[in-house]
Symmetry: C2
């Protein structure tokens, strides 16, 4: 199981400090959507040069122009690019075309998808690499958590890998690990921890 | 009716050349999603300083973290920020909160929304400024056009303004104008025209 750290609200300099400290426990560095809106592909370029042993994910949440937008991110050095599960099949297929060209991977963000089982199966059949169940930041306070959706996806897919995101922390990671997942995405539980190295180490140790 | 020019595939320098030529016929400058993915808020900052008489729209297509992401764009100088209609209500409300703080506006992109009438009414009730029917770039070749969806939205809304996007050109603008709309979004029909000033002028003249 891989640990993906989501970087959303830090400056580029703060991200580098955090990654330099925690990189031994991190597998995938996520350049989050707010970070991309603010800085474009600059952090992707920077991290892909500096952390050659880590994979870089660009959380572009692509909704249209799949091939064009995924290509921008892969060209900048992303290994994995995200596409929204609610988008048209044509957009997913366009992004997969760009992934093939650059030897990259596509992760689908299932945020806002209602027919989870049906859509997960369709996406797997299209050949996406990862299906990520994701409790939106904006609804985390309502008590939602992504475990229930992970179970629903795990029941129907056989080839795609899975990822889980949305408020994951040390206290909730064990049940996710027990359910089975390939990538665990953690944000604030590491970046806002008083001891960030310890937080990353402890979570990484729980991933089997 | 306003004319919005969508800038997606040009460099910053090329955009400035195009805008300097056509600005007399343009009301809203759209920094397109691929442009944001590549450059972040740099074009928004640049255009908002250089074209003080034009409104600047950041096509962020927000899907989560509505307040945070909209705030990044408004802070950079955007007058209008886009949010996806398929997102959670909480995300729309967060973006509206940021809009209120900065005196900006929210345009909803209806791309991928299936229950158009119901969702348009919900969004209007939340207080969004614009509802934009949008035929995705990735499905334009299948013959879809946004006029049909514009008619469906016009039937149910009474307060929000409307916008239309997705392959609009001189040959299709008249029927959109007849149907009634507040903002017409045009991309390639201006930026790829052999005479871009003439193309912008001709389309602007059709808008009543």
């Amino acid at each position: 199981m891989k640990l993906q750290i989501a970087l959303d609200t830090l400056t580029l300099k703060e991200c580098i400090e955090l990654l330099d400290e925690t990189k031994d426990y991190i597998d995938i560095v996520e350049v989050g959507t707010p970070f991309i809106i603010e800085k474009g592909m600059k952090p992707v370029k920077k991290f892909s040069k500096r952390y050659k042993d880590l994979e870089i994910l660009a959380d572009t949440k692509i909704m249209d122009a799949g091939e064009l937008e995924a290509e921008i991110a892969f060209k900048a050095g992303a290994d994995i690019v995200t596409v929204l599960g609610v988008t048209h099949d044509e957009t997913v297929q366009g992004a997969l075309k760009a992934a093939k060209k650059y030897g990259g991977k596509i992760m689908i963000d299932m945020i806002g998808v209602n027919n989870i089982e049906e859509r997960a199966k369709e996406l797997e059949d299209m050949g996406v690499d990862y299906i990520c169940v994701h409790t939106a930041f904006d609804i985390q306070s309502t008590g939602h958590n992504p475990l229930e959706e992970l179970k629903r996806v795990n029941k129907v897919i056989t080839k795609s890998k899975t990822a889980v995101a949305g408020g994951v922390k040390l206290e909730t990671v064990d049940e996710i690990v027990s359910e089975g997942v390939d990538v665990v995405v953690v944000g604030g539980a590491i970046s806002n921890a008083s001891d960030r190295v310890l937080a990353a180490k402890q979570i990484k140790e729980r991933l089997k």
